[in-house]
Symmetry: C2
């Protein structure tokens, strides 16, 4: 598709391009626009159907939006903003540099500007920050007929009318919820209050947006009503925004679990230097611990000077410890993220991991014991390695499950208690075990 557009641009047959665009899907067009170069972006954007332009604009990358805001006329900007949903407008403002922000606000209606400023007040990770203030809403005393009229009149510029919220005649308190489906199936004369579902699940503007996303997963909602402290309806979170929050949180966890500061940027778009910043901090922190490990080893110099072969097992013991630990920590971190495990379960989880560790460690011990005996015909050595592996596995899995839970209990992010952190901790301990077992059993 991108190729096609570029071709049209090259041959300057804009009429063709225009009709081509009018048939294409908006999400696809937005994707292509992101990949075009600055000047073409404006050209193509101006060829879009007026009623589709705003929707496409909202789907574009921040850089593309910024670039267009720079090139478009005030009139064009005004028409985009006027059609834009509040939550999309707020996302735009969040990303733009100050000078362009003023340009956008100057070209938006007073009411729009007020609405945007309202939204910008909500804390960054709150439900308020991702909600939209455009939603279908009815009075409990409306009849189904009234409802249809209201929707016909206002419906078009509401972000979703599939879930319709019902407020009391007085202070817009949220009292019920109904759906386009129920309205279609109900008798026109019935009152909304008689067909609405009364126990409404809602969140307050300050609710953590991650919690809100989880509720979508649990309740299979298409939209979640957001109320203020007095249970007055102030907005809704739509499922597409909830899905975005979910995948954001996932990406962040992947990055944290690999010892990186999470970043909002896409991998290819993020600069080398900012990736460097995200990665170096943790590497330096983790390196500190290996100073300890180093010191420990020097403490056992006599051991491996007498028996240099011991050194050759250090990598195997360290890696196995690290891998056992990261298996446990990954499982526990995810279980914590999905609220399947809570801090109070710490002993249950630990007991589970200990049993797994005994099975895993036992197997590794036997397999290696045999292998080493065959390789070196040295029974004490294979016993030493076997015992070390068993204890290392148990230690690694214990740390791997306990540390994330402790982190959660201390209101820290469990995701940082993942592979890299666990590995460096297990290293030191496993080597202590190794050398001591060796000293005991191998008359050094």
């Amino acid at each position: 598709m991108k190729e096609k557009i570029i071709e049209y641009l090259a041959n300057e047959d804009f009429k063709e391009l225009k009709s081509f665009l009018s048939d294409a899907n908006e999400a696809d067009i937005a994707e292509c626009l992101d990949e075009l170069d600055k000047n073409d972006q404006a050209v193509v954007f101006r060829l879009l159907k007026k009623d589709e332009a705003t929707d496409i604009f909202a789907r574009m990358d921040p850089d593309t939006q910024e670039n267009l805001i720079e090139t478009l006329s005030d009139k064009e900007i005004a028409s985009i903003i006027s059609k834009m949903y509040i939550d999309d407008a707020v996302d735009l403002i969040d990303e733009l540099p100050a000078n362009l922000v003023t340009r956008v606000l100057d070209n938006s209606s007073v009411t729009k500007r007020q609405a945007i400023n309202e939204m910008l007040k909500y804390p960054e990770d709150s439900a308020g920050s991702i909600m939209t203030t455009e939603y279908a809403q009815l009075d409990e005393d409306d009849t189904v007929e009234d409802a249809f009229d209201k929707i016909r009149r206002k419906g078009v510029n509401k972000e979703t009318i599939y879930t319709i919220y019902v407020t009391d005649s007085g202070d817009r308190h949220l009292v019920g919820v109904t759906s386009a489906k129920d309205l279609l199936l109900a008798d026109p004369k019935t009152k909304i209050k008689d067909i609405m579902e009364e126990n409404v699940i809602s969140v307050t503007t300050n609710e953590d947006k991650e919690e809100v996303a989880k509720m979508f997963d649990k309740y299979d909602f298409l939209a979640m009503p957001v109320v203020d402290s007095e249970n007055r309806l102030v907005g809704i979170v739509t499922i597409d925004d909830a899905m975005d929050v979910m995948s954001e949180e996932n990406e962040e966890d992947f990055e944290k679990m690999a010892a990186m500061a999470p970043s909002e940027e896409d991998y290819m778009k993020e600069s080398v230097f900012s990736q460097y910043k995200n990665r170096i901090v943790w590497l330096l922190v983790l390196m500190l611990s290996s100073i300890v490990t180093g010191k420990i080893i020097t403490g056992y110099e006599n051991a491996f000077e007498a028996l240099p072969i011991l050194v050759s097992f250090i990598p195997m013991i360290m890696d196995t410890g690290g891998n056992c630990g990261s298996q446990a920590s990954t499982m526990v971190i995810r279980a914590l993220a999905t609220d399947e495990v809570e801090p109070k379960d710490i002993l249950k989880v630990w007991w589970k991991e200990i049993r797994i560790a005994m099975l895993v460690g036992g197997t590794l011990a036997i397999v290696n014991g045999v292998r080493i005996f065959i390789q070196y015909h040295d029974l004490p050595l294979s016993i030493v390695i076997g015992i070390t592996l068993l204890f290392t596995a148990m230690l690694a899995k214990s740390l791997g499950c306990i540390l994330p839970i402790l982190a959660k209990a201390l209101k820290l992010d469990p995701a940082y208690m993942a592979s890299p952190m666990i590995t460096t901790m297990v290293d030191a301990c496993s080597l202590v075990i190794f050398f001591n077992v060796a000293l005991m059993l191998m008359n050094i």
Copy 2:
């Protein structure tokens, strides 16, 4: 809520419990039922409103469903199945043991049984396997009025009527799509073909379900039409099922990246032994590689016999290499999963990682060089460590970005080319670098 239910059960005031349940949310009830013990589950389930019971049943854990199927009467089972959506029924069948499967099928209508068997034919990861065959569908020649009648008649037992699919009068070919919203806003006399959106995005029954989930994310759909090879509409995938696929895939990636065989079970529910099985295989595989690393070290015995201090740096070099590598691999694996990076980008990505590696490695080299010089007043040693760290970082980040991309190119799962695999590979190489640099610069 669970506590409340248990209390009601204890005092045997079932009338109270019944009304309590009728006010509660279905998802919440299902969650509580999962946590009650076998007998209570049946008692509570029988107190549910008939019209809610099926929906709640569909939301329960497989074990709870199985347990209820065992205890409920044929008549009760029949009434559940009759109200159940096809895709939920198929999920149920998938989880049940053979004897209960027959029990369920015997108690479902002929048409239902045929529909279920149809669905069971689709390959496990295909769109067909997660679609439902209940959807709102219109003929292009219907008027908006006809549409409302149809929906009023059939609407109730359709899984979603928010997106309505339009087929041609002949062979049910998918020709367009419209929405309850558009119908509400249109003039009753207009023909559907005049208001419908004609370029419909659809998937075939054999499409990979993960790809389908990604399309929901891109197009912000509430449902995706599924067609057969002749573009005949055969079903729809709803957004809640798409979300389930997404989170499944994410959990699997987390597990694969921690060197575990992915599992469908929840952490707490999965038995110790099956967790053991999921973890031990990769540990054994990865252990093989450390045999190599061991051999390498023995090859440099003379080096660390002459200079035992070298041994104490092995952990630091191994860990740093591992951490650098897993940072790169995590970023690239995720970028591959979201289609942001493709195999053809391999050189672009590698060049990016090399530059990051030079910054990261450089910093680590300087920080450690200085530290070691202060600690041991041994300039050659700090230079050796510095150079080793720089090259290790570059090597680790190269492997970390190249291996996942190669895996993808070879149609293997990149997620396995994560931290554990990279670490074990980097270990061997980084030690070779270390000892050779040492031998060169430290006249041993």
